[in-house]
Amino acid sequence: MEAKEDALKYKKKLKPYEIRRVWIERVVIWIAIILTMFPIVAIVAASMAPGSSFTQETIFPKSINFDNYVKVIKDTDFLIWVKNSLIICFFVSIIQLAITIPAAFAFSRMRFKGRKYGLMSLLLLQMFPSMLAVSAILVIAYSIPNGMDNMLVLILFMCGGSAYNIWLVKGYIDSLPKELDEAALVDGASVFQVFTKIIIPLLRPMLVVIFLFSFIGQYSEFVLTSALMKSADMQTVATGLRTFITNNFSANWTQYSAAAIMASLPIVIIFLGGQKYIAKGLVAGAIKG
């Protein structure tokens, strides 16, 4: 970084061709930004448009109001969906972390029989997303009592996909200096103490990030939720928003937009806040993959 700044200082004046090039690049990027922002701006605009805007003819409404937001909160099950989503995402992420960390610790710090094949089969299982087993999961849910419309069953099935997280956390524990554990072991600490007193505190910042990204990932889960949750009051944000479409979307487009914005905003904020971790590749793929 410093070297780059120094280099800039030496070049006091940009050469004409450099200035031309930067301006061409800027124009291309501005076009890209317009295309990128267009859908977002259009939805924000629609959410503030009056009426159903079934016959909306301009992108920007002539008058702005927040009626749609009020209607979504008052007249639809939106708050129930948010509540369900929060419960499911919270518990799935917490349970996954609790399952993942000890296993990642063992895979990273211990040598034992079956370690190699264990890791390999984790890789293999991670290739088979739980949505491919949706036929089997449905049959199972139908055959056990209270299997359908049961949040606990859904949370359990969603927790099954922790293989990838084990790899993620294992990679991070691998990067912690081994000398720390060795010193503690020499001082008479047990392996469990190494785990609870050294590894977990060091992992703490990482755990928050993994928790948040796992949370975001579950927030978008659609397949299992829509398969297992049939009744209207068990929908999540992802499946609930879709009912706007199945229930005559055209009349509801402005309300849908308002709901979509309210549902997306917290996630966008979390995501942008954690962006520096994504850049490090630490949680890459944990969100959409």
Binding site: I40, P102, L125, V134, S220
Partner: protein, 321 residues
């Protein structure tokens, strides 16, 4: 635990040493993960395999019997071939176009943003990354509204700019529906690739370019001999995993068009259905669980082959050693 450390009485030391063995047993740490993965992931997979060899459907629920590989025969060479093959072809095209399209757009933008003379580049990057930050399901759902012929913002904008005179039927024409689905997928996916490319661009040492400059290399040569090879090396495994992801990209297919417009030749899959959404429909809409399971197994083998190539490429197998 705290007590044991602070009060080092004899009895507690003794207790501690006897506990060391169980503390150090790796299987205790693995048990929660192994048990949960076994029950919640592995057993459903096994059950999927079992179902795929039966005639399980809504009609046969109380009379399920093993029928061998008939489901696979039906899909690969029997009556369901005309459902499977077009869907398979479109899945492939969809995955290739969206993976390489995202990569290309991401690469170009990353190269532009990498210009050191553009001081405001971080601002642009923060804006361009936005689609990635959105919850995918909600973003994809919104595209259905954006593409709507009557009130969709895309048609409104195109008409106001006088590019088109009457609305484009995005969701009812097979070709346009495919274009629409791809547009949404590219929009949603390019920021990730841009991020990947920017990361690998900043990892290229400046010395390379300085050395090339001294040797009199043109900008063109520098790009093809230094920049592109370096980026491909880091991006290659990510490209493959992104391909595997798009191969399975249920959301784009199902939530924008619901797989439609429907094919006149078959009720089971529309023009924009990919394998993953066809499997979902087989189980959810038509209750043909056995056929859905058999398709899952076929899809699994395809993904497994892709992922195997990816793991070889990224050296994940070496990490296991």
């Amino acid at each position: 635990m705290q007590n044991i450390v602070t009060n080092g009485t004899k009895r507690e030391i003794h207790r501690k040493s006897s506990r060391v063995n169980s503390n150090a047993n790796p299987y205790n740490y693995l048990a929660p993960a192994l048990i949960s993965i076994f029950i919640l992931t592995f057993l459903p997979i096994v059950y999927t395999v079992v179902i795929s060899f039966t005639n399980y459907s809504l009609n046969t629920m109380h009379n399920v019997k093993l029928i061998g590989i008939d489901n696979f025969k039906d899909i690969l060479s029997g009556p369901f071939t005309k459902v499977f093959l077009p869907v398979f072809g479109w899945t492939f095209i969809f995955a290739i176009v969206s993976t390489f399209g995202c990569f290309l757009i991401g690469l170009i933008l990353a190269l532009l943003l990498n210009d050191k003379n553009m001081k405001e580049a971080p601002v642009y990057k923060a804006i361009l990354v936005l689609p990635w930050a959105l919850p995918a399901t909600i973003a994809v759902l919104s595209w259905q509204g954006l593409l709507n012929a009557q009130y969709g913002a895309i048609n409104i904008a195109l008409m106001h700019l006088h590019i088109i005179s009457k609305p484009i039927q995005w969701l009812t024409s097979p070709t346009l529906a495919k274009v629409g689905v791809l547009m949404a997928t590219l929009w949603l996916g390019f920021p990730y690739m841009m991020n990947v490319c920017m990361g690998s661009l900043s990892a290229i040492p400046d010395d390379y370019y300085e050395a090339a400059e001294i040797d009199g290399a043109s900008a063109f040569t520098k790009f093809f001999k230094i920049t592109l090879p370096s980026i491909t090396r880091t991006a290659y495994p990510l490209l493959i995993s992104s391909f595997a992801f798009n191969f399975n990209n249920f959301g784009s297919a199902f939530l924008i068009t619901q797989g439609g417009p429907p094919r006149p030749t078959s009720q089971y899959a529309g023009y924009t259905d990919i394998l993953a959404s066809t499997i979902y429909n087989m189980s959810m809409t038509y209750n043909r669980y056995a056929l859905g399971a058999a398709m899952s197994i076929i899809l699994f083998f395809i993904i497994a082959i892709i992922s195997y190539v990816q793991m070889r490429a990224s050296g994940q197998f070496k990490e296991v050693e």
